[in-house]
Structures are given as C-alpha cells and as structure tokens.
C-alpha cells in the first residue's frame, strides 16, 4: 500500500470517528422546543451532519498532519536533499488527497448544507404550525365550533398523524358534531368533513388541484381546444356552430377569430361580419322560445355571454355558475352545453385577474419561506416595501405559481412619505411576461368559488391606491430575483455561491448590502485556497516533526490523537478569522475589484508554501 493510500485511510478514520461523534453530540443536545416528535430525530441527524461538514477541513488537515508524520517515518534516517524527487512525489500524493477531500467538502458545504438548513427551518416551521393549529382548535372547541376545530385538527394531523393530543381532540369534535346532528355516527360525519366542503382545506396542497377539478368535466377539453387556435380555425368553428344554430358559440368563435387576425388579414373583416350575423340571431333568440323557462335561460345565457364579451369574467362566472347549479338541481334535462362551455370560458378568464379563496386553504403547510421582507426600488424613484409572512411555490400546468400569506405592501415616495399601504391575507403570484422579461404579478383580489359577494380585497391602510393595483399589482423587478430575495432573507450562510454571484450586483436594489455579498463571495472562494495552503503547511510540519525510523507508535500516544483535530480546528478558525479581516480591508480599499487581487495573493501563498515543502531536506 502506498503512503498516499495510508494517509487517506488516516483521514477516512478521522472522518468516520468525527461523524459518529457529531451525530452523538447532536442527539445529546436538546432539540428546539418548536419541534414536534416526528421531526425531532431527523432534525438532530441533520444537525449532526451540518456539524460534521463544519469540521471537515479540520479533520482533513489533522488527518494529513498525523498521516504524513507517520508516513515520513520510513525516510527518517535517509539523506534527503532540497528539491528531491521523493518530496515532489509526496507533494503530488498530498495534492490528490487535498483535491479529493476539498471536492467532498464543497459538495457538502455548497450543496448538502444549504439543503439541510432549509429542511431544519421547515421542520421548525411545521412544528410551530402544528402547535398553532392545535391551539386554535382548542379555542374553537371552547367557542363551541367543532367544525372549525375539526378543520384545524385535520391540518395538525397532516403534520403529526399519530399525535395523541390532536386525535383526542378530533374525537371530541366528532362527538360534539354527532351530538349536534342528533346522534349520527361520528364516522359518517368524519367522512363527510373529509370529502365535503372542507375537504380541500384538510388536504392542503392537494386541495388546489381538487378544487380546480370541481368544475364540470366536459368543460376542460373545450378550454384545451381553444389554446393555440388560429384565426382560420376559429372561423371554421364559428361556421360549424352557425350550421347547428348554436349562435352563442358562432359569435364567440367569430369574435375570437377577429381578435386573433392581424389588421392586414382580410379574414378580420369577415370575422366581424360573421360575429354580427350571429349576434343578430342571439338578439332575436327569445322570440323563438315559447316556454317561460326557456326564455329565462336564454336571457341568462345572453347576460353571461355579454359579460364575457365585455371582459367582466367575474360577473359571467357567477351568472353561468348559478345557471349551471340550477340546471343540475332540476335533474329534468341534461345541462346545457353552452352553459358548461361558457362557465369554463368565464372561469379561465376570471383566473387571469382573480383567484379563489379556497385555493389557499391550509396552503401554509407547504410554505417554503417565511417572513420575507424586502424593498424594491422602482424605476419611477418610488420604493415598494414588501412583507410576506409565508410563501408557497408550486408549478401548475407548466407554469410557476406562488401563494403568498399575510402580504403587506407599502409604497413610499422619494421624500419618504407613504403613497399607499395595503394588507391582504392571501395573494397569488405568477410570472408576467412582457417584452421578453418576466416580472412578478400579484393577484390580490380573491373571490368565492360558489357565490358572489365573498370577495377578499386588500385592506387599504393608508393613502389611495389605484383601483387596478388594488386587484393586480405588478412588481417592478425581474421574477428570477424573487428567488434570490427569498434566499437572502434566510441569511448569507444559506445561499449558494452561484446565488450570491447573481445577487451581489442587484442586492442594493432590494435593501441588502452588496458589499456583504462581495465579502462572502471572496470568503467562499478563498476557503479552498486557505485549506489547501494549510494542508501543505501541515505537510511541512509532518516532515519536520516526523517520527524516527526505529520508533514504534506507543499506546499512550493514541490518547493524544484527539488533540490534533482540536488544535487544527483552532488553527483553521484563526486563519479564517484573519482572512475575513483582510477581505474586509480589501473590499473597502477596492470595492468591486477585490476578488482578483485576493485570489492572486492566495495563489502566490499557495505556490510559496508548496515550494517551501520541497525545498526542505533532512535535518
């Protein structure tokens, strides 16, 4: 076995023993009080791993120091001259070991550590959520509201399914509900709650998809058909509808063709003419009906349809929804396909400007960021300050969507005075594409899926906000910066090097210090150089303080081995601290240009220490 392999085994032994020690230490320490039982073990394990990652460089250097001090024993009595091939061979082996260990460290530090920190934070958040759900459920039970309590407890049980406290409270809820409804079995009620109006609430993220699927099944294909349609296809569909005397659809597709056609397209005029003809038929429609019910339905459809044509999708949605529910409840005939179709058209249009309140039920269980605060300097010199209590990112139908909880936004003028300030319990955010750039579009107006009048609008706390912005607010920033702002709110240590590179140039725009990120970038880049330099210096010490050739390793020396990683850790922390001081001075002296001289200086140090190693000789 070569000396390099032997030293590698020494380093590996350091890693294994230290990993075990870190895990034991992490499990011995108390977990944060917010955590609930299912997350405690994993939280502690992650803490142990994070601790181990922190100590990896010290273990590597200690391993090199001890390993090479023992390996050099075989050359203790040899005459070794300066620049000898023997030392160059050792240096090569040490380089390989250092590169392997450094690669492992950086994968752990830049990839695994930020991920684990996020998981830890998420576990703490879920613990806090659980306690809050249970506390609210208890309050609801005391207020004799078992329905609300049950919804909260279902959410709490999603976090901790085996919670004795939550299950006990749930049983009490079901008992109270059964009592209230005159002895119906608790199990029946339980399934009622799970599948009923609160089903979505209890299922969190799944509730969004489920809620969307509550719409008529036949409506979906129509909506899909309309996507990517050309003007000619729309005209063809209009003709087909006319032949079937389906003038609503004939008008709808003719108008669609008119909107899709370019101004120079001769079909544009044709589309408008066809739309007019269809509308004439729609206008005289009631004359053809003799039954009162038919007339009323036709008028409702016309009212809804006119709302669609006027862009009032909210009104159209409720008109068609009421008609849909009426026809469904009547059970005499099937549901009018026009109603189904235009309900879907209205719903699709509505969701471009509003979102349904029930989409946000228990969405906080899936929040990946909390307490996000940033400012945004707008191009008109005003400043938006944004506070978001919780953010849930998801992807639906290939599109990024985020739900924001407890959003507060203030717009400040150049003089520091408040232009307006609003607060809204929930907002839905999309990337809004314009001129090749996507910006965050906040939909602030939530509506009830089942009835008109259940709107949730932002509360205006101060000033006058334009009506349009009270419903939809477009943030004056690139959408991709939002991820960086969220990461910056978690702290510098939670950001990857790539994130910091991207953010350092725009950090000031969002109220974060650009110099802080510059310093951290240089710190992170300097880190491998520092470890490499200390490693080679450890090699020098290993050679200088090597074991004598005829000296055998004594048992009591093993007792002193733990001192090596500790002293090495102190040495590394000292070097890191001094490097931080130098980097602050460099960034202060040459803001924005400190990286190159720092890296050049470290490279020179590295070359010098390498030369110093193979410039050694026998004592």
């Amino acid at each position: 076995m070569s000396d390099t392999k032997r030293v590698f085994l020494v380093i590996l032994a350091h890693y294994l023993v230290a990993f075990a020690a870190c895990i034991v230490f992490a499990f011995a320490r108390a977990a944060p009080p917010e955590l609930v039982a299912p997350y405690v073990a994993s939280y502690r394990f992650w803490r142990g791993v994070l601790l181990f990652v922190n100590y990896m460089p010290a273990l590597q250097i200690s391993g090199l120091l001890v390993g090479y001090a023992l390996a050099f024993k075989s050359h203790a009595d040899e005459q070794v001259d300066r620049w000898s091939a023997l030392l160059i061979d050792y240096l090569k082996g040490a380089f390989i070991l250092c590169i392997v260990c450094l690669a492992a460290y950086f994968v752990m530090a830049e990839g695994v550590s930020p991920f684990l920190r996020t998981k830890q934070q998420s576990a703490v958040n879920r613990g806090s959520d659980y306690r809050e759900f249970v506390a609210v459920a208890k309050a609801s039970l005391e207020a004799n509201d078992p329905n609300d309590a049950e919804i909260r407890l279902q959410a709490a049980l999603q976090i901790w399914p085996k919670s004795a406290e939550a299950n006990k409270l749930l049983d009490r809820c079901q008992y109270l509900r059964a009592q209230a409804s005159g002895g119906e079995s608790p199990d029946a009620k339980k399934s009622d709650v799970a599948a009923g109006k609160d089903g979505g609430a209890a299922e969190g993220k799944g509730s969004v998809a489920k809620s969307e699927n509550k719409q008529p099944a036949a409506a979906e294909p129509l909506s899909a058909d309309d996507k990517g349609i050309t003007a000619l296809e729309a005209l063809d569909r209009s003709d087909a509808a006319t032949k079937k005397h389906d003038y609503f659809n004939a008008h709808y597709y003719a108008m669609l063709a008119w909107r899709l056609a370019r101004d120079t397209d001769p079909n544009k005029a044709l589309a408008l003419r066809k739309a007019a003809e269809a509308w004439n038929h729609v206008s005289e429609g009631t004359d053809k009906f003799t039954e009162q019910g038919e007339i009323a339905r036709y008028q409702t459809k016309r009212e809804g349809y006119e709302a669609i044509q006027n862009g009032d999708y909210l009104k159209a949605y409720y008109v068609f929804l009421a008609e849909y529910d009426k026809e469904k409840a009547a059970k005499t005939k099937g549901i009018d396909p026009d109603v189904e179709r235009f309900l879907e058209v209205a719903r699709t249009g509505l969701l471009e400007s509003f979102f349904f309140v029930d989409e946000t039920a228990n969405i906080r269980l899936f929040e990946s960021a909390r307490d996000v605060f940033f400012v945004n300097r707008r191009s008109d010199d005003t400043v938006d300050a944004v506070f978001i209590r919780g953010m849930t990112f998801m992807r639906t139908a290939g599109k990024d969507v985020a739900y924001l909880r407890d959003v507060e936004i203030a717009r400040l003028g150049r003089d520091g005075k408040t232009v307006w300030r609003i607060a809204v319990p929930y907002a839905k955010m999309f990337p809004f594409e314009r001129e090749g750039q996507s910006r965050p579009e906040l939909i602030l107006h939530a509506v009830d899926r089942n009835r008109a009048g259940g709107d949730v609008l932002p509360e205006v706390l101060e000033g006058d906000i334009p009506a349009q912005e009270r419903s939809i607010l477009l943030l004056d920033m690139p959408y991709r910066d939002l991820d960086l702002v969220v990461a910056a709110n978690r702290g510098v240590s939670g950001m990857t090097l790539l994130d910091m590179f991207r953010f350092s140039k725009t950090a000031e725009k969002y109220g974060f210090s650009g110099a802080l990120y510059q310093r951290e970038i240089i710190n992170r880049i300097a880190e491998p150089f520092l470890i490499l330099i200390i490693s080679i210096y450890a090699l020098i010490l290993g050679w200088k303080y090597r074991l004598g050739k005829n000296v055998f390793f004594r048992a009591w020396w093993a007792l002193a081995i733990p001192l090596f990683p500790i002293i090495t850790l102190f040495a590394i922390e000292t070097v890191r601290y001094l490097a931080r001081l130098c980097i602050v001075a460099f960034v202060g002296l040459a803001p924005g240009n400190a990286l190159v001289p720092t890296v050049a200086f470290l490279t020179v140090c590295f070359v010098l220490v390498s030369v110093a190693f193979f410039a050694q000789r026998s004592d």
């Binding site: 001090a69 203790a76 809050e132 307490d371 605060f373 400012v375 400043v383 300050a385 506070f387 909880r405 407890d406 507060e408 203030a410 400040l412 003089d415 520091g416 005075k417 408040t418 300030r421 607060a423 706390l461 101060e462 000031e508 109220g511 974060f512 210090s513 802080l516 310093r519 010490l541 290993g542 200088k544 303080y545 090597r546 074991l547 004598g548 050739k549 005829n550 000296v551 055998f552 390793f553 004594r554 020396w557 002193a560 001192l563 090596f564 002293i567 102190f570 922390e573 000292t574 601290y577 001094l578 931080r580 001081l581 130098c582 602050v584 001075a585 960034v587 202060g588 002296l589 004592d619």
Partner: protein, 343 residues
C-alpha cells in the same frame, strides 16, 4: 556545531517574524482601525503596527523561545552550549529587550503616532453616526428596519419601515414612519416615543458581525492581555517587582523545553508544548487572585509583599515542574542511551 551557532539567528529571526505577524494582524482586529484601513488611511495602520509591536513584544519573545526549543528538539546540537545559550537569549530579552520596549512606548517616538492613532479610536469612542440608509437592518426580537434616506447630518431617518417578524399571524407586521429621530448618545432610532432600532449607529453590524472574534481567540487574547498588563504594571512598580514577575513567568516557559523531549514523536511534543503554554496563560490570573492566591497568601510569611505573591507562586510551579521534568528527562536520557530507540 553549525546548528549550535544558528541558535541566536533562529531566536532573532523568530522574534522578528512573530513581532511582525502579531502586530500586523492585531491592528485590523479593532473595528475602528479596520475601517480606517479600508478607507485608505495607512498611517493609522502603521501607528497601530508600531504600538502593537511594542505592546506584544513579551509574547513574541515567549513564542520565539518555544520555537527555539523546537529547533533544539529537531536538530542535533551540543547541549551543554546550546541550552545555556538559549537561556542567555531569554534572559537578555527579559533584562533588556522588554524593558527597552516599555521605555520606548512611553517615549516621544511612540507619542508621534498618537495623532494617527486617535483617528482610529475616534469613531469607536464617539457614539457613532446613524447607519447608512437604504439597507435592511436587523433589530432585536425579529425586527427588521429599513430607512430610505437620512437628513440633519444623520440625526433623522426618512421613510422608515419596520417589519416585525415576531407579530402573530394575521396581525400587521409592517409599520411605516415618515421620519424617525436618531439619538447619537443612546444610538436609538425612535419615532413618536416608539423605539424602532438599537443600535442604529456606530459600528455597522453588517461589517462587525462578520468580524466577531472566535471564542477561543478572544479568550486567548483576554489571558494574554492580562499577562501583558501584569508585566507592564510590574515594570512601573520597580526593578525587583519586574524581574520577579516577568522572570518567574519566563522561567516557567523555559520548563517547556523538557516537554520537547517528553516522547519520541516530535509532533506530539510540539502539540503538548502549545497546549501547556495555553494552560499557563489561562492559569496565570489565578495566581493574582482567587482561591489559590488566598491559600498561598496564608501559607507565605507576612513579610512577603502582596505584589510578590504571584511571582512566588509562579516560581514555585516552575521549580516543581523543573524538578519533575529534569527527573523524567534524565531517566529518558539514560534509557535512550541503553535502549537506543531515541534518535
């Protein structure tokens, strides 16, 4: 023979190296000096460098002494020459070099740097200006504070936003103030009697938080400062007190020579020397007060002045260490000669 001749050079070389390293890195540890250096005021750095070099000279001497012992451990020398030579170098440092540094630091040479030095200390001594606007600042209890601009020479912040993360879900977390007043004495930023942020001025936490000294280093600096202050105080109290205090501690340091031969593994010896040196620094304050001091005071005759109790204690520890180490050293030397497993 060559190795023996090298001893004074090794000591002086190490002394220079440690003096430069310790001084160069001790200057930026002060926030004010670092900020002055970042602003390109190099005179502040030079002034700090000179005063630190003089102040830290006893520590540099001790470290040079240790490295000289390592040199003796690693190289074959004529022990009956090299050891006395090393002791003479250490004694010369105690007798001449350190008193000279004290006299120099009190002389006009050092005071010529006072002007530059005062520049460095000024921002730290004053209450400090309001932090620069346009950045989010972390406050106590999960508060985050941002202000758009300042006016009145940093006495007032304009467009202040406070996001309080500690508020309960559903309640308002953000407060907006058109302006807030900054009190440079208490470093408080407040609006209408409501305290928004403290400290809102002085050392910028965005820089200072990254410069926090690691715990073990701040403890080391605290113990070293205690020792240096004791040395300086003894120097001011007279020659006898000085030689008793400084000489006894250096005698204790010299005992570490024997630790360099504690085992056949040089690396382990070096490690033990550093560990014990750290314990010496850590233990020294206990010889000037506390339980051990009280016990020693009771044991010693009343004629021993109070100021000499610590030197007597240190000398006693050095003497015991010397006897034990010498015994072990001689035994090992005899065994080494017989068994031949010692290089």
């Amino acid at each position: 023979m060559k190795n023996t001749v090298m001893i004074p050079l090794v000591f002086v070389g190490n002394l220079l190296l440690w003096t430069i390293l310790l001084s160069a890195f001790s200057v930026p540890t002060s926030y004010a000096s670092l900020m002055a250096l970042s602003a390109g005021h190099f005179s502040v750095f030079i002034a700090g460098f000179v005063s630190s070099a003089l102040y830290l000279l006893p520590i540099s001497c001790m470290l040079s002494c240790l490295y000289l012992f390592f040199y003796l451990m690693r190289h074959e020398t004529m022990l009956f020459i090299s050891l006395p030579l090393a002791l003479v170098l250490v004694a010369a440092s105690v007798a001449f070099l350190i008193p000279f540094s004290y006299r120099l630091s009190a002389s006009s040479v050092a005071s010529s740097f006072t002007q530059a030095d005062s520049f460095a200390s000024e921002p730290a001594d004053g209450a400090g200006k309001l932090f620069s606007p346009g950045l989010i600042r972390d406050g106590d209890g999960g508060k985050r504070v941002f202000w758009l601009d300042d006016s009145g020479a940093g006495k007032r912040a304009l467009g202040v936003i406070v996001a309080d993360r500690a508020t309960l879900p559903g309640s308002r977390a953000m407060s907006v103030y058109t302006s807030a007043d900054y009190d440079s004495e208490s470093r408080q930023l407040s609006a209408g009697g409501v305290l928004l942020l403290v400290p809102a001025g002085g050392k910028d936490p965005l820089v200072a938080s990254r410069l926090e000294t690691p715990g073990f280093l701040s403890h080391l600096a605290r113990d070293a400062n205690f020792l240096l202050e004791s040395f300086h105080s003894a120097f001011e109290k007279g020659t006898v007190r000085y030689f008793a205090t400084v000489g006894s501690f250096f005698a204790l340091v010299c005992c570490l020579f024997f630790i360099c031969h504690a085992s056949a593994w040089r690396l382990l010896n070096a490690l033990l020397v550093f560990t014990l040196f750290r314990f010496m620094l850590m233990g020294y304050p206990y010889t000037t007060g506390g339980f051990a001091y009280d016990e020693a005071r009771r044991f010693l005759p009343g004629s021993v002045p109070q100021g000499l109790v610590s030197p007597v204690m240190v000398t006693a520890v050095a003497a015991i260490s010397l006897i034990v180490c010498l015994a072990v050293f001689i035994i090992r030397k005899i065994r080494r000669g017989r068994v031949g497993d010692f290089q």
